[in-house]
């Protein structure tokens, strides 16, 4: 019996490893998260208004989701200025998150820390010109700057609070935000061109198209406020429900070999990974969102979505290649939304936040984070301290998908007798866009 372990997978927000045991028959493949999150333990007993800042460590969008849940818990509706600022922050976070993923994709082709000035480097041919890395990161940095203006910081933002946001923008923030939004949109178009030529069609990464495909149900926010839509592998709507009912529809299954639970659909019951049909799992994220097949309001993003359909066929899609393309579509969409939102009229107003009378007992919110749908549900006691905080992360909802993608990749690699180093890279590339 042979046991292979892929120590630390690249580009995973939480530490992950893959353990494979080969014993003649089909391999046993385990995608493991090896550090616990312990969100409930961190939140228990905290003043409920502190949750946006605490939960920001999960991902920046969790900060916004927590603030929204607090709006409900405190029974207040934020003023329009606050809603616009939060939404602009969300779009900046989308842009930065998706662009970062393309950065990681490019680092698979070229070591980003190579000394580009060394004589060896200058003699050799570069797969990816240094300028491209620089350009890309410069726009990540711009998106981070916008997130910093709107949120205090890009990572661990602080400005979204119960009932609104904590501070007005300054005079010179307005033109700067507009500048950044325009630059991000223009860069999005340039990047799209490069990716289409080099990555998504033929080119340096043509074998992206050969990576895994795992058809699963998808879950995303619906068009009505606070509603969620579940679609099957044909893209058809199978359930529509209020976000508050999420944990009635979705359960969490625990395994002893990973710290991340698996989200599954209660009415299908948990089935072990690999069992057929795989209808108790679902996934979230950019591809899941686009699988509703609806045209997008943002014109540049819609044009890109049409290109995807022309190249890969109509939605729904489940392949890794489609997932990368979905990131690109949403990148453009986020930039376009940011341009629309970063206008002075939208980001000025008489009130920053609606002051509540006092904390209620419960609040919830569902939000489309860049990484996928996230959900918070808080219960507070009479002092406004957290009695229970339930947080659903995208990683939990996609845990099943990751396990299946990893398994499929390993099986294909064994069939092709691929060296393990390459298999690790293919796993990393398969998981990256989700």
């Amino acid at each position: 019996m042979q046991t292979i372990t892929f120590d630390s997978l690249r580009w995973q927000e939480q530490p992950a490893r893959v353990t494979i045991t080969v014993n003649g028959g089909p391999p046993q493949v385990y995608f493991q998260r090896i550090a616990p999150r312990e969100v409930a333990a961190l939140c228990q007993g905290r003043p409920v208004e502190e949750l946006p800042r605490i939960l920001a460590i999960l991902s920046p969008a969790h900060h916004l989701c927590a603030a929204r849940a607090l709006d409900r818990l405190f029974g207040v509706e934020p003023p329009p200025l606050a809603l616009n600022m939060r939404e602009a922050l969300r779009q900046a976070l989308f842009y930065r998150h998706h662009l970062q993923k393309f950065y990681f994709l490019l680092t698979s082709l070229e070591n980003p820390f190579m000394d580009f000035w060394s004589s060896e480097a200058r003699r050799g041919l570069h797969t990816i010109p240094h300028q491209l890395f620089d350009d890309l990161r410069r726009h990540v940095s711009l998106a981070q700057e916008a997130a910093g203006i709107l949120g205090g910081r890009a990572d661990h933002p602080v400005t979204a609070v119960a009932g609104g946001v904590s501070r007005y923008l300054k005079e010179d923030n307005y033109p700067r935000l507009a500048e950044i939004a325009a630059a991000c949109r223009n860069y999005g178009l340039r990047l799209a061109e490069f990716l289409r030529e080099e990555v998504l069609a033929e080119g340096k990464m043509a074998d992206l198209l050969e990576l895994a495909t795992v058809p699963l149900a998808t879950l995303a926010l619906g068009p009505e406020p606070d509603s969620l839509i579940l679609r099957d592998v044909a893209g058809q709507e199978t359930a529509r429900f209020a976000a508050a009912a999420l944990f009635e529809k979705i359960g969490l299954h625990h395994e002893t070999w990973t710290y991340e639970p698996f989200a599954f659909l209660r009415d299908k019951g948990w089935k072990d990974l690999g069992a057929e049909p795989m209808d108790s799992l679902f996934f979230v994220g950019p591809l899941a969102r686009l699988n509703n097949g609806a045209p997008l309001a943002a014109p540049l993003a819609e044009a890109e979505r049409q290109r995807l359909i022309a190249a890969l066929g109509p939605f729904p899609h489940f392949s890794v290649a489609a997932a990368y393309w979905a990131l690109l579509v949403e990148l453009l969409e986020a930039a376009e939304h940011l341009v629309v939102l970063c206008e002075v009229e939208k980001l000025t107003g008489p009130a920053l936040r609606t002051i509540p009378a006092g904390p209620g007992r419960a609040g919830h919110a569902a939000l489309e984070a860049p990484e996928g749908l996230i959900y918070h549900h808080f219960q507070a006691d009479e002092h406004g301290l957290v009695r229970e905080a339930q947080v659903l992360e995208a990683a939990t909802e996609n845990n099943g998908l990751f396990g299946l993608l990893t398994r499929q990749t390993v099986e294909a690699a064994l069939a092709r007798k691929q060296p393990w180093e390459e298999t690790k890279e293919r796993i990393e590339l398969s998981l990256l866009p989700f």
């Binding site: 120590d7 630390s8 690249r10 995973q12 927000e13 530490p15 353990t19 045991t21 046993q28 385990y30 493991q32 090896i34 550090a35 616990p36 312990e38 333990a41 961190l42 228990q44 007993g45 905290r46 003043p47 208004e49 502190e50 800042r53 460590i57 999960l58 405190f74 680092t107 980003p112 820390f113 000394d115 580009f116 060394s118 620089d134 990161r137 410069r138 940095s141 205090g152 910081r153 990572d155 661990h156 602080v158 400005t159 609070v161 119960a162 009932g163 904590s166 501070r167 007005y168 395994e255 002893t256 070999w257 710290y259 002051i355 509540p356 904390p359 406004g384 301290l385 690790k424 990393e428």
Partner: protein
């Protein structure tokens, strides 16, 4: 010595936490100065997929370690990187003090997760330790860059001091970073700063905070969801608990600048023995009453003191949880 030979070998690793500190280091590479001019990155699992086995084949000059020590794997990583590295830097509040994961020490103990492999062939998970620790509680740490997330200028100061050692042309405004003179001079001279230095300011956040401080006397307590002036007057004076008074400066008053009270992510200010004690003292000295019943009623409003005052520092800076020998060392410096 060739340029390649002069380059320092860097390692970057996060234990239990998030990726924001590594993100901040990555930003340095692109926003400040190209790391490859003076460093060779020999171990960075998050970006380069480096394995522990590969680390055995090389040496490390400076290791940037982020994340708290929660699992057995975290502990092993800390021991291994300490053994391998000439200099070990605790980056971020989690590595420096325990960080937000440290709050788990206030909750009921986590259910037992056995670390041994199961007989049915399922792989093992690194076991959870009974308490969350900071890096400095596991191994000796040479330098600390605090913050959740560390700011760019302080992270760059650490890079300049420990890796570039005078070789990089990109300079830093020390006034903006409020580094102590000894640290700033070492950076300018290209020598290593005193071991154990923290890349942060000398005073408390109040020294960098732009808000207006008048008189600290209030008879109210406000929770942050209640009404207060988001700019202008000091938050503590308005009755909102702000821990800037107990926290080491260096962030430039980032949170208070956007209307949010400080929660102490830079750790306790150097002159303070215990941040909880300092906050008790700071808050109770503003009580405008000498009547025991009135005071008791005021105290009712303050909730979750332990989780607030020790929000980022519980494992390493709560005096009640640290052994006497460490306390004695601090005591000689502080009391």
């Amino acid at each position: 010595m060739s340029r390649a030979e002069k380059k320092k070998k860097l390692a970057v690793y996060t234990a239990t936490g998030c990726r924001a500190c590594e993100q901040a280091l990555l930003d340095l590479n692109y926003e400040v100065n190209d790391l490859s001019r003076f460093a060779e990155i020999v171990f960075w699992p998050y970006i380069l997929g480096s394995t522990w086995a590969a680390l055995d084949e090389t040496e490390v000059d400076v290791a940037f370690f982020a994340g708290a020590i929660r699992t057995a794997a975290d502990r092993q990583a800390a021991l291994k990187l300490r053994e391998k590295s000439r200099l070990l830097v605790a980056v971020g509040a989690c590595a420096a003090f325990g960080g937000l994961p440290g709050l788990a020490n206030l909750a009921a103990p986590a259910p037992e997760v056995p670390g041994a492999a199961r007989s049915n062939g399922e792989p093992a998970l690194p076991g959870i330790e009974p308490r969350v620790s900071a890096l400095s509680l596991i191994v000796p740490v040479d330098y600390v860059v605090p913050g959740c997330v560390p700011t760019q200028n302080l992270l760059w100061a650490a890079m300049l001091a420990l890796v570039c050692q005078g070789a990089s042309p990109a300079r830093l405004s020390y006034a903006a970073a409020r580094l102590p003179a000894a640290l700033a001079e070492a950076i300018a001279a290209g020598v290593l700063p005193p071991r154990g230095s923290t890349f942060a300011g000398e005073k408390s956040v109040c020294a960098s905070c732009s808000r207006i401080k008048e008189e600290k006397k209030f008879g109210t307590c406000k929770r942050p969801y209640q009404e207060y002036q988001e700019t202008g007057r000091c938050l503590l004076e308005q009755g909102v608990i702000c821990q800037g008074v107990a926290t080491q400066e260096g962030c430039g008053g980032l949170c208070t600048g956007v209307g949010i009270p400080c929660r102490g992510c830079f750790g306790k200010a150097p002159a303070i023995f215990d941040p909880g004690a300092k906050m008790v003292s700071a808050i109770s000295s503003t009580f405008d009453s000498s009547n025991p019943q009135e005071i008791a009623a005021l105290v009712e409003n303050f909730v979750d003191l332990a989780g607030t005052f020790y929000r980022y520092v519980l494992p390493s800076q709560c005096a009640l949880l640290v052994t006497p020998s460490k306390v004695e060392k601090d005591a000689d410096d502080n009391l």
